[in-house]
Amino acid sequence: MFWYIARRLLQAIPVVLGSTLLIYAMVFLQPGDPIRALFGERGAPDAVVEQLRNQYNLDQPFLIQWLLFLKGAIVGDLGQSFSGRPVADMIGEAFPVTVQLAMMALVFEAVLGVIAGTVAGLRKGKLFDSSMLVTSLVVIAVPIFVFGFLLQLVFGVKLDWFPATVGGNASFYNLLLPAIVLGSVSFAYVLRLTRTSVARNMSADHVRTARAKGLTEGLVVRRHVLRNSLIPTVTFLGADLGALMAGAIVTEGIFNIPGIGNLVFRAIVLGESPTVVSVVTVMVLVYVVTSLIVDILYAWLDPRIRYA
């Protein structure tokens, strides 16, 4: 197991190198000069523009820029934004907010999705099952920003149960509404995955055996049906944590949450490559770690899977 984990972590190195190179290339290839654009319609003396290009290494060839970024990153210096703030500080402020939001969304979708999916799977074809299928279909079909604006209007503005926006005060209560919005689509997927899986496992051989042993229905469902049914769900949830964090741009915009999504959005608009690349690197690491955790969870959920 130890060697398995070590090997997986070593694999992360080329993944991070490759993805930073790719992102750097994309930001680099973005047309237009970000420094010139800072001056808007008025322009600036050439000397000033040159000075700033030099300061952000933008006068270097693309590969050199990337190597300089890596060199800094290794010693913990992720560079500066155009406003002169260290990128590491900006990520340090925004990242915890997004992590909290994504974790809340993940818990929301996992708990509610698995419960509703299990019940629906056990009562396949009944009223609850059908209504859950319709609900999840609607949630998947409606774009997330529509859902976000709707909940914000109803619960934030009209009923005033939650603050309409979050702003600087990212408390559990303030993030509840955004977390539900962010987790809504995944909730629908978790529900459907769990339901299908549970329904199929109900007629599996090992479940029939368990019933034949005389186990109570509750134990059969918990020990034999649910545990096996959760493999696709766990795979999905693991990959989803990264997707939730990366996909929080829309939700963070609607609810004005100062997280990674807002940060990277602004950096892309300004063409601030150090910020974009650093944020993406962090996201890549999150993906690597969560997918590792998912793989380890497999072994626990399904005794047939072993890692050497």
Binding site: P31, P34, Q51
Partner: protein
């Protein structure tokens, strides 16, 4: 009418536009006394809060409250002395400036050096300040703004004593005092120069407010500056700017009563905000001019007889009223000249300005006349970036009007980002292009010189007409405001003949405030006069 606004739920495009815009807002903190703190939206300032480095609206409106310049502007744009006791010149070229007794909020006095050092800092190329071009009319600017400058101070700035300094300009400029209320010309305390970066995080100013705290991407808290003695006396207990990246979110907060003032209503709410009973709506004329320009050598549209006829024909083929009504729900005012009605000395009936009126028959006649000189081939192409709010819609509308009313092939060309558009423009690889202008100080001259003067910094169409340059020069040497305004009008008459650009409309300011907010007025540049705002 709250549901009308939610009609936008259907529109993905609007959300995209709203994401591009950035806004900000604040929560309503109540003061212990009857005096309340006002909350307003802001975008995260793009730079540390140093006056010579702040050229965008987010940081700009904060800095304007933290500092006081030599001049300030009344709500209608009339300049008046603030820190300056007097600004005088015999020849409009060498100006003698004397100061009132004034203090920074840390108790140190505002001296002649506070200005001179700040301006020299702003102009020096190695400091790479965003507003450095503001000092270009001062003698010696060329020496400090080049690469590897040998001198660090402009020769045109001389300190006479603690309260007096002189400014020598490269040429006479009669509206020089008018511009001294702009952000770039604010003074800096001596302590700033020790560590400008640290200063920008926690600036010490001499204006109506002081910066209490700045939580990046969250909020900026401003409290009244007790030692401030100027004309902009705060009527509230402070202003808290809440940072928004999405203007829709700020507007929602105003509706929910969590934010007092939103400076600009998002496009998605434009059609309904005036009838929304949960907010107070404001529509005020502003000084931002939307236009498009013709490159000087654009085939068929060059600065020659054929080109002049076609430029006028295009201008007259555009029904500005229809576009402002239908696309912008009345949130724009059709242009009557090359400046804006909020400018002192504005005139709506300059000779030749009828080319800005919709007249399809005359347009066709001029177009046919141009065809007699040389037959038109190809398309009329209007280029723009699409990442600015409303750009795409208005360029498409203009192109359609030209196509339908002139019966020619016309099409838009879009650039996804402002950067890309600027690059194409700087490389002179564009056809007719969108060109907006927001003046820095209330002077018609600021709409003319920087854009249409020969070789001027923002003259991206490379327009050059010696007669026009001469009129500007005369305006700069004028002895009185009336004479200056008359010369600007004459200069505009030349522009109406040449039509290097086609003015379209002024962008109205469309703001909203929560219920109970009072005394919200917009300044000549379309920014709320924050110091006057009160609430119940």
């Amino acid at each position: 009418m709250r549901f009308t606004r939610r009609a936008r739920l259907a529109g993905v495009a609007l959300v995209a536009a709203a994401l591009v815009l950035a806004g900000c807002g604040g929560g309503g903190d109540d003061d212990a006394g009857g005096n309340k703190v006002i909350t307003a939206d802001v975008t995260e300032p793009q730079n540390p809060l140093v006056p010579t480095n702040t050229n965008e609206t987010g940081g700009g409106k904060v800095i304007d409250l933290l500092f006081a310049g030599l001049m300030t502007y009344k709500t209608d744009g009339t300049p008046e002395n603030e820190v300056a006791e007097s600004i005088e010149s015999d020849d409009n070229q060498t100006w003698t400036i004397t100061l009132k007794d004034w203090e920074f909020s840390d108790g140190t006095p505002v001296t002649a050096n506070s200005f001179v050092d700040a301006w020299n800092y702003g102009a020096l190329s190695t400091n790479a300040q965003n507003n450095s071009y503001f000092f270009e009319s001062i003698e010696g600017y060329a020496d400090v703004s080049k690469e590897n400058p040998k001198v660090k101070e402009m020769s045109g700035l001389k300190v006479v004593d603690d309260k007096t300094f002189t400014v020598k300009l490269i040429q006479p400029e009669s509206d020089f005092p008018t511009r001294l209320g702009y952000t770039a010309y604010f003074p800096l305390p001596e302590s700033a120069f020790e560590d400008m970066k640290a200063f920008g995080e926690k600036p010490i100013g001499n204006g109506p407010y002081t910066l209490e705290s700045w939580s990046h991407d969250q909020e900026l808290v401003l409290a009244p500056n007790k030692s401030y003695q100027g004309a902009r006396e705060p009527q509230n207990a402070g202003v808290t700017f809440k940072v928004y990246t999405d203007l829709e979110a700020a507007y929602t907060d105003v509706q929910a009563g969590n934010l007092d003032v939103i400076e600009i209503v998002p496009d998605g709410a434009l059609s309904s905000f005036e009838t929304d009973d949960s907010v107070q709506a404001f529509t005020e004329p502003s000084s931002a001019l939307a236009a498009f320009a013709f490159p000087n050598d654009l085939e068929h549209f060059a600065l020659d007889d054929e080109g002049r006829l076609r430029r006028k024909a295009i201008s007259m083929a555009i029904d500005r009223e229809e576009i402002t009504d239908k696309i912008f729900s009345g949130g724009r005012t059709p242009a009557k000249d090359f400046s804006a009605p909020t400018m002192p000395g504005w005139d709506d009936s300059i000779a030749g300005s009828e080319v800005l009126e919709f007249n399809p028959n005359e347009a066709k006649r001029l177009w046919a006349q141009a065809n007699d000189i040389k037959q038109f081939e190809g398309d009329f192409v209007l280029e723009t970036n699409t990442d600015g709010p409303g750009n795409k819609a208005y360029v498409e509308a203009v192109v359609n009007q030209v196509k339908n009313n002139l019966g020619i092939d016309a099409k838009p060309k879009f650039y996804a980002t402002f950067q890309e558009f600027l690059d194409a423009r700087d490389a002179r690889k564009v056809g007719a292009f969108r060109a907006g202008w927001q003046p820095d100080y209330p002077s018609i001259g600021n709409y003319l010189g920087p854009i249409y003067g020969t070789d001027a910094g923002s003259n991206d169409g490379d327009y050059s007409n010696p007669e026009f340059d001469q009129k500007l020069k005369e305006a700069n040497a004028a002895d009185s405001d009336d004479e200056r305004f008359a010369k600007y009008a004459e200069a505009q008459e030349i522009l109406f003949e040449d039509m290097p650009g086609v003015p379209l409309w002024q962008t109205d300011v469309t703001g909203a405030a929560a219920k109970g907010v009072e005394n919200l007025e917009y300044s000549w540049k379309g920014v709320p006069e924050f110091h006057n705002i009160t609430k119940e």
